[in-house]
């Protein structure tokens, strides 16, 4: 593959950003330049790289994506029901552009900030600059760099110390333009003893081929808690390559649920830094690919301080010729004594042609730790199926009951009722389509 040709669209987009009127904050130009340089050094990942050997992104590298900003603005578009939680504050982006019509922002009376990258106030701007620049310098995730290299819009949220925002904050990206690319960015910063709920939701018009390259940058300060939900319902032809970098302070808690139902090729790179004593991360995911969908989770947990705690439960239900990948890396630094890290990845194959690859990767340098992992790949329990059928429950229904029960271990743990109900409905819908 000719590398200069491969990244031609990238050059083009960089050029477009250089000549576009300066819309963003002053730090943005330097941030992009740094990220561009680092991305160029690495290039698009290939199957020859260990962390990418199951996930082929060459179609992304080889497509001449259009900048979403060049697509017609569709603020008046009759959209499908986008909202995950109707009571939430909501920022809706259509083809990468903010849609006032579909959004519901907090009023001026609130003392936390929800701002767009293109219109940051002083104070929040410095916080965003610091975090985004740090990420652009540090991250090894190629698509996080790509996001920074081409960033032009995003949402910056700041929750000050001792504030609990109980209304969920929902960011929705909807794409209906063919061959378009968007680089959604969210920076979520919680001060100390603060609390918030963040929902990222992604969807697109059915069958449209596009490339979503989101990046979430999360800081949970000392004693704070963030519940983070990702609801991915992209079009069946879409590429969704996401990155998340989360940093946890002392006694900070981060709970994350990723629901994946859409996309042709989906990859999540999640990096969690447990930087404070007693920090806790609980990560769950449910993915239900069908057809030829490919869904890949790569998680990296860095236990850097003592008494840090992590739990991971990722479950997959695979139909048809679907393929899933799970790679869970747990790094425990020498000083991170009493680390408690448990990781599970369980896959249910409903078809002989489906394939799940699961690998743990433990790198432990402390001696007083509890670190376990478990991975299973199996089919529906025939004993259980016969048991249900022997009571009069039909074969199809029995299979559905068993799959719901399997998925329920993840969906049942979702604290926010509207997300949980949506997850259960999506499971039912996906199973219904099977027949």
């Amino acid at each position: 593959m000719n590398e200069s040709k491969q990244a031609a669209w990238l050059e083009m987009h960089q050029e477009a950003l250089r000549t576009a009127p300066p819309a963003g904050p002053d730090f943005l130009e330097q941030l992009r330049a740094q990220a561009q340089a680092r991305f160029r050094e690495r290039g698009f990942p290939t199957l020859r790289q260990e962390r990418w050997r199951f996930t082929d992104v060459s179609p992304v590298a080889e497509t001449a994506w259009r900048r979403a900003a060049d697509c017609a603005e569709r603020a008046d578009l009759p959209l499908p029901e986008l909202s995950v939680d109707p009571t939430a504050y909501r920022l809706v982006f259509i083809n990468g552009r903010f849609s006032q019509t579909h959004s519901r922002l907090p009023g001026p009376e609130v003392s936390f900030s929800v701002q767009r990258l293109s219109m940051l106030s002083n104070g929040v701007k410095e916080l965003a600059a610091k975090r985004m620049t740090e990420t652009a310098v540090r991250t090894e995730q190629p698509f996080a760099l790509l996001n920074s290299a081409l960033a032009d819009e995003g949402v910056i949220i700041f929750i000050p110390d001792r504030m609990a925002v109980l209304v969920p904050l929902e960011i929705h990206h909807y794409i209906d333009a063919a061959e378009a690319v968007v680089h959604p960015r969210v920076v979520m910063i919680l001060g100390e003893q603060a609390e918030a709920l963040l929902i990222e939701s992604y969807s697109g018009r059915g069958g449209e081929r596009y490339f979503a390259n989101p990046m979430a940058d999360v800081v949970v300060g000392n004693g704070s808690r963030l519940d983070h939900y990702i609801v991915q319902r992209e079009s069946a032809a879409a590429y969704h390559l996401s990155s998340t970098r989360t940093t946890l302070g002392r006694e900070a808690r981060y709970h994350r649920f990723a629901l994946d139902f859409g996309g042709r090729l989906v990859r999540h790179d999640l990096e969690v830094e447990l930087e404070g004593d007693g920090a806790e991360a609980s990560l769950s995911g449910l993915y239900m690919p069908a057809g030829r969908q490919h869904i890949d989770h790569h998680t990296t947990l860095r236990h850097l301080q003592p008494h840090t705690f992590s739990r991971q439960l990722y479950k997959g239900v695979l139909q048809d010729k679907a393929h899933s990948v799970f790679n869970g890396r747990i790094f425990v630094a020498r000083e991170a004594q009493r680390t408690d890290a448990i990781q599970h990845n369980r896959n249910l194959l409903l078809s002989d042609d489906a394939q799940a690859d699961s690998q743990p990767q433990l790198e432990i340098f402390a001696d007083d730790v509890r670190c376990t992992h478990g991975g299973t790949i199996g089919q529906l329990d025939l004993e259980g199926l016969f048991y249900l059928r022997s009571r009069g429950i039909g074969g199809d229904m029995a299979r559905q009951i068993m799959v719901h029960a399997f998925a329920g271990q993840v969906t049942g743990g979702i604290g926010l009722a509207p997300v949980r109900e949506l997850a259960e409905a999506l499971v039912a819908e996906r199973l219904g389509r099977e027949e």
Binding site: D381, Y387, L388, S390, G392, I393, I401, A405, G412
Partner: protein, 261 residues
């Protein structure tokens, strides 16, 4: 009700049932006894429709149907119930939901309306008393973390809810202490009527002190080698299966010591 003629069944190329003949009529209780490996459980499983068995010959008629042609769920809806020797744990499936779904499937098959959640709860609470089960079990996953006795009682609870015409009890007494055995048998006895029938598969005579059979059949090496009334069970209790094995012509090689599982 049930007519089994010359039924021959194999598993993985090995013949397990070598020509079973059995007639069961409404109101009857049949006990099928025999040493381990004689084919008792296979018979119960085949009647309930478990896959993995090869029908080599013979036929089974049940209430006008060729039973072996029916899917397991259709057999259940037609009134066949198997109480499992090893009830299956199904994590994540709530017992109430399971029971109500099953009952409504059976009712739909009979042309009866579905039961509302409230009506179902009323019904199931009454049945719980029959097997002296705590209602908390209803909120748990099917059999998950249940003790052996609780699992067996749950089987009888399901039977009480579904009201089968033909109940097959597969080693229901295995692993039960005397109190649990008394409760399970008490539940079965209360469900006995002139319209339904029971086939009780057991290794020991013990259960038959509580569930008194009308007929006792001895299964050995895939065939019913003796039939009689309840006194046959007592005779077996006194003499063991050795005499049967001797008369069956294939002795100890198959089953030496197996009677003490």
């Amino acid at each position: 009700m049930l007519e089994i003629k010359e039924l021959r069944v194999g598993v993985e190329g090995r013949e397990i049932l070598k020509g079973i003949n059995l007639s069961v009529h409404p109101g009857e209780v049949h006990a099928i006894m025999g040493p381990n490996g004689s084919g008792k459980s296979t018979l119960a499983q085949v009647l309930a429709g478990r896959s993995g068995y090869e029908i080599l010959g013979g036929e089974v008629r049940y209430s006008g149907h060729d039973l072996l042609d029916l899917e397991p769920e259709v057999r259940a809806r037609e009134g066949i119930f198997l109480a499992f020797q090893y009830p299956v744990e199904i994590p994540g499936v709530n017992t109430t939901y399971f029971l109500r779904t099953a009952l409504n499937e059976v009712r739909a098959h009979r042309g009866e309306p579905r039961l509302s959640a409230a009506d179902f709860l009323k019904l199931v609470r009454a049945k719980l008393k029959l097997v002296e089960m705590d209602p908390v079990f209803l909120n748990r996953s099917i059999n998950e973390g249940f003790s052996g006795g609780e699992k067996k009682r749950n089987e009888i609870l399901q039977m009480a809810v579904l009201e089968p015409k033909l109940a097959l009890l597969d080693e229901t007494d295995s692993g039960l202490d005397i109190d649990a055995l008394r409760i399970v048998a008490g539940g079965v006895n209360q469900l006995r009527s002139a319209d339904n029938a029971f086939v009780v598969v057991t290794h020991y005579q013990r259960l038959l002190e509580y569930i008194v059979p009308d007929f006792v059949h001895v299964l050995y090496d895939g065939r019913i080698v003796r039939s009689g009334d309840k006194s046959l069970a007592l005779e077996l209790e006194a003499n063991g299966y050795d005499e049967i094995k001797g008369s069956g012509g294939r002795t100890a090689a198959v089953n030496a010591g197996a009677a003490h599982e």
